[in-house]
Amino acid sequence: MVRPSMLLALGALAATAVACAPASETTTQTSSAAPSASGAAAGACAKDGLALKTPGKLTIGTDKPAYEPWFNGDDPSNGKGFESAVAYAVAGQMGFAEGDVTWATVKFDSAFAPGAKQFDFDVNQVSVTPDRAKVVDFSKGYYTVKQAVVALDGSKVAAATGLADLKDAKIGVQVGTTSLQAVKDVIQPSAELNVYNEQIDAVNALKNKQVDAVVVDLPTAFYVTAAQVENSKIVGQFGTASGVPEVFGAVFEKGSPLVSCVNEAIDKLTASGELAKIETEWLGSAAGAPELK
């Protein structure tokens, strides 16, 4: 029989031996993908020449549930709601008919998972940040977003006129959103944030008065006050701490050859005023919230 003390000694011996085992730390990172070509020639974006997940079909990913006002009725394929309309407009610019667009349900977490993606690109109100851009490729921004503070009428933060008035508020946000970072950077609240899995959980917490305010992007804030929570109001909106406007971009796997083609489509839509028109149609009311300084 091996005595326990001996086992321990042998275990330690094994551990040190393994620790000294040569780990192949020298392998250099070889990115499997070539850097995305920029400024591709117009001919490179011909529909038939595109590298798609399903030949002849444009597969677009988004989360489920898909929230208003970005999507309508939790159905991205009806062309209603801002992001759905933008997706179909981009597809149209690239030469895809409505029937050639298929939608894939992609949870936010798996939109940036390594390996082969299930989509050609993903639209899910994903803000473009430098850290994220190291892992995935983003298109140009198709919407410039502001954060907004929503509170119940008559609560202590409803009358806030500046960011300083929000310092002592208990704030709720959804996990994975840039709202969370914005609150930390700009408002810098003294109380710890409450962070929820889903936007609807944060909204319910506001209803239950478990939080004084929730911070969401401005169009969502208008939807929350109009349709989700009675007697709530938008206290105000605020920009980023750095002053660089925050934009939503489509997500591609790193090195996707489609980026330049989608960018081209977005440029055309911006130049023709089509993008502004879609914005007015679906997010038209999203103006006129007081600016918090």
Binding site: M6, V18, R132, V175, Y196, N204
Partner: protein
């Protein structure tokens, strides 16, 4: 070292040549088997490492899950969140043991007058064992405050503790009940014949034996509880998993999840070993 006097051996006794030879042989064979085990372990681990690191996708996996820079960045936040996990289970565990024991005792009351109490205990265990823990956390976390009653707790950790206690109390009640029922009826009969009341019999004779028997499964539930504290994140507080999630969403890198996983492992492995040790000890005692 034991001294030979205490063994009642005559003074001046020495081990025989044969005995010494026996011990030498035993030492040699245990050393040999130990070294063989060590060498084979090292070979297996090196092989596994090589297999992993030589796979074509390894650099991508390494950058996504084992990024030292991200690890260092996430650790302080995840660690501070982890303190909340620890707080939650340290407060929940004694409450769970109390609830579980009370429910188990209620199910053991035999007098007809206590029927409602018995029925209530049965309904409680059936309901709360049947509902997923995460659902109970949701219902308590969002449902209780929505009632808007006076004096309902607002602190999220408290709500989480209530939910976990309700859920795990049902499991632990069943563990205790199994323990109580495993005590031989003759024990109870003997105690009653000595003139102890039902309560005294339970307190002095049955429950102590029952508890001793169910320590390993109780600890098992305790380990499970430690992991399930992460579910409390769904109602809003910033615990380890949530902090990790925030970092993942910010950098699109999964390493912070690994940080959280490691912390949970560091917490539960000693518990698991301790459980094994206790089980082995009770096994030894029974076999004597």
């Amino acid at each position: 070292m034991r001294n030979d006097e205490s063994l009642g051996l005559p003074a001046g006794w020495t081990k025989s040549e044969r005995q010494l030879e026996r011990e030498r042989l035993r030492r040699k064979s245990s050393l040999r088997s130990g070294s063989v085990a060590t060498v084979s372990t090292i070979i297996v681990i090196v092989l596994l490492l090589w297999l992993f690191t030589a796979s074509p996708g390894w650099p991508r996996v390494r950058d996504t899950f084992f990024d030292p820079e991200q690890f260092a960045k996430a650790l302080p936040d995840v660690l501070s969140g982890f303190l909340l996990n620890i707080k939650i289970f340290l407060i929940a565990e004694p409450l769970i043991l109390l609830v579980g024991l009370l429910v188990a005792l209620a199910r053991n009351l035999t007098a007809p007058v206590f029927f409602p109490l018995r029925a209530l205990a049965v309904v409680y265990t059936d309901v709360f064992r049947g509902v997923p823990t995460i659902l109970i956390i949701y219902l308590v976390g969002f449902g209780l405050p929505a009632l808007g009653l006076q004096g309902t707790p607002t602190d999220l950790a408290t709500l989480g503790i209530i939910a976990l206690t309700l859920s795990y109390g049902a499991y632990v009640a069943e563990v205790f009940r199994a323990g109580i029922e495993s005590v031989h009826p003759s024990q109870r009969a003997a105690a009653r014949s000595l003139g102890l009341s039902h309560g005294q019999t339970m307190r002095h004779v049955v429950v102590p034996q029952a508890v001793r028997r169910v320590v390993p499964p109780l600890l098992n539930d305790f380990v499970s509880l430690q992991k399930d504290t992460a579910l409390v994140a769904t109602i809003g507080p910033l615990e380890a998993l949530r902090q990790a999630q925030i970092h993942v969403a910010g950098n699109f890198n999964y390493t912070p999840y690994l940080v959280a996983a490691l912390l949970f492992i560091l917490l539960t492995i000693p518990m698991a070993r301790f459980t094994d040790y206790l089980a082995a000890r009770s096994q030894r005692r029974r076999s004597q």
